[in-house]
């Protein structure tokens, strides 16, 4: 008696809905993402840039750090497609290897910021009370310090800036924004009944955070991670440009552009600084488009699109 009505209702195959059938919300978001053309193109552009940078040795066999004093500031030639810089290093080779460094810095800084941000945001948002207070005051203090000045000071104190150090400095100074965002989405999730329900069924704190909070907050996390990566690539270039980034002779896009501070090169050798500039521009633009696409895809209000 109890089941009869249900059976008749639910046994009917649901034809209208078959498109969205059995798709997780994440899959639905990805489906929506693929409808955003700019974002999809950006994914391919970014992938192309990544592949070219990874496969740098295939495209050139010149060591990007090798100097040749006989070939200083030469224009494009068959051997050096984009000419050479003030130390006689090959610009093309530096462009490809420099892309590697810029992408690695952007990605790993994003990754570590994500780890710190998610960890602290989860603790603050889930436990609340004292823990929340301590973490949020720490983020307030971090946000109070002007980021650029702080980074410049640290860079100035440290003798030799390595990639690892550079990444950790960025990660250690820029987690507060993400922590706040994650804490915020936890605060609203915490009021959802399925969290209480999970507690009532005997789930441990760790399990609730890992299985209930993070998957439900994946939208803001992914979107912010993407946008963060773009920001970090810019920061790396900007710091390198003013000479506080990863030091020569390691090639980075920022380092290459900084050579254009020389008015002679700026005027006479556009092939030396336009490609790395474009590299930064296209990469950052692509990442930002992907971020926008992800934001629309995860935003439940953009359902109608």
């Amino acid at each position: 008696m109890t089941t009869k009505t249900d059976e008749t209702i639910y046994n009917q195959p649901d034809k209208n809905n078959s498109m969205e059938k059995n798709k997780s919300p994440f899959q639905i978001a990805m489906h929506r993402f693929t409808r955003n053309k700019m974002a999809v193109i950006s994914v391919f552009v970014l992938l192309a840039i990544i592949i070219i940078c990874i496969l740098a040795p295939v495209f050139t066999d010149i060591n990007p750090e090798e100097t040749n004093l006989l070939l200083i500031e030469k224009g494009p030639s068959e051997e050096h497609i984009l000419g050479t810089n003030g130390l006689g290093q090959d610009n093309f080779s530096r462009l490809l290897y420099g892309g590697r460094i810029s992408l690695i810095v952007g990605f790993s800084a994003m990754f570590f910021t994500l780890v710190i941000g998610v960890l602290l945001g989860s603790l603050a948002g889930y436990y609340g009370g004292k823990i929340d207070n301590i973490i949020m005051r720490a983020t307030d203090i971090m946000l109070m310090l002007p980021f650029l000045v702080l980074v410049l000071t640290i860079m100035a104190i440290v003798d030799k800036v390595t990639i690892g150090l550079f990444v950790s400095i960025i990660a250690l100074t820029s987690w507060p924004n993400l922590t706040r965002i994650i804490r915020g989405s936890y605060l609203s999730l915490r009021e959802q009944e399925f969290i209480l329900s999970a507690q009532a069924i005997g789930a441990s704190d760790f399990r609730i955070i890992a299985k209930h909070f993070i998957p439900n907050a994946i939208g803001p996390i992914v979107v912010n991670a993407t946008l963060m990566m773009a920001t970090y690539i810019i920061i790396e270039s900007a710091l390198s440009f003013i000479g506080f980034g990863i030091p020569q002779p390691t090639p980075t896009w920022g380092n290459m552009i900084s050579e254009a501070q020389n008015i002679r090169i700026l005027r006479n050798n556009p092939e030396a600084w336009i490609p790395p500039g474009l590299g930064i521009l296209i990469t950052v633009l692509a990442i930002n488009f992907i971020g926008d696409g992800l934001r629309d895809a995860f935003d439940p209000r953009s359902n109608q699109r």
Binding site: M1, T2, T3, T5, D6, E7, I9, Y10, N11, N17, K21, N22, K23, S24, P25, F26, G128, G129, Q192, E193, F194, L196, S197, A198, Q199, A200, I201, G202, A203, S204, R207, K211, H212, P215, N216, I218
Partner: protein
């Protein structure tokens, strides 16, 4: 020796310490006991402390709330001393709870099967395959057709009634001794309500559970509960077997609740109401907590809060009106 009650709660007090220094006495001295296989209903308006009582039993009271007093024993085993870790072993395993909103009580990003098997694998240490089979079996038990397909579906693909069935399946998955249902049918259609309640009773019989039903619907109570506790202002004001309570309603508050129910055999234009609102839990009247709304209020009521007294066999009332009733008869 007396057979252990499934649940024994004595003088439970759960207070909320508000920011402005006020103390909200959400649950103030509630005692109750549930025998094996019994269905006990807690009835009361919004804000009377029903849900907090249930959450206190599960020890799921969050800051700023705190259980300040009271003993909770499950199958004769004290739960006060248990650590949070031990409690996670008890929740879901020995006591399970069903919530009011089936729409939000399931995690939207995982499949139904995923959520049920997770409990089984954690509490029963089952492997994936067994858990999957058990999950399908459970879904069939609670009357879900196409269980094999449903386990691969997400909560948003199910209707409210179906979700509540899934919640029941999750709740009974580890054969709990006690099932707490916090207004399990409030968010559902009337027709589905009856189905869900029937299902819960059926499951209760089948798995020999005791059921603590929290509701504000006296109609539900009259049909399904063995015993009723009426709560007002964080306290039990009347307690009796269902039939006794419905036939010989004593407390003015319970009478008010009864009058506000539509009756099929009487033709009334306006339903009765209880005037006023439940006073906020941090600002109860000094005497009887119902005195501000009671139609039979006496001077005495404004000064002293009556005790819960047994005026008939198994019929307890907290009211000055009946204070001498026991002596007279």
């Amino acid at each position: 020796m007396k057979k252990h009650a499934v649940l024994d709660v004595a003088q439970l007090k759960t207070y909320f310490y508000l920011n402005n220094g006020q103390v909200a006495k959400a649950v103030d001295g509630v005692s109750l006991s549930i025998s094996p296989g019994e269905t006990v209903a807690i009835v009361g308006e919004s804000g009377s402390g029903k849900s907090i009582t249930a959450l206190s039993i599960m020890k799921l009271i969050n800051k700023p709330g705190r259980i300040v007093n009271g003993e909770i024993a499950l199958n004769g085993k004290e739960m006060q001393a248990l650590s949070e870790k031990q409690m996670t072993g008890i929740r879901g395993n020995d006591i399970a709870m069903i919530f009011q909103e089936p729409m939000t009580a399931l995690n939207p990003v995982f499949t139904i099967g995923n959520q049920i098997t997770e409990i089984l694998r954690k509490h029963k240490k089952m492997n994936k395959k067994d858990a999957q089979a058990k999950a399908i079996h459970l879904l069939k038990t609670v009357g879900i057709p196409r269980a094999e397909e449903i386990i691969h579906e997400y909560p948003h693909q199910l209707s409210g009634g179906m979700r509540q069935r899934v919640m029941i399946a999750m709740a009974i998955s580890c054969d709990p001794k006690l099932l707490i249902a916090d207004e399990p049918t409030t968010a559902l259609d009337v027709t589905i309500q009856a189905q869900i309640l029937d299902l819960m009773l059926e499951m209760k019989e089948k798995f020999h559970m005791a059921l603590l039903l929290i509701t504000h619907d006296l109609g539900v109570v009259s049909e399904y509960a063995d015993r009723v506790l009426v709560m007002y202002g964080g306290q039990i004001v009347e307690q009796a077997k269902t039939k006794e309570l419905l036939r010989h309603t004593k407390h003015p508050y319970t009478q008010g609740l009864m009058q506000s129910l539509p009756k099929l055999d009487e033709d009334v234009d306006r339903l009765g109401t209880i005037k006023g609102m439940v006073p906020p839990a941090y600002n109860f009247p000094a005497g009887c907590r119902f005195s501000s709304r009671c139609p039979f209020v006496m001077d005495k009521c404004k000064v002293s809060n009556p005790e819960l007294t047994e005026i008939d066999t198994d019929h307890f009332v907290r009211c000055h009106l009946y204070e001498n009733a026991g002596d007279e008869s």
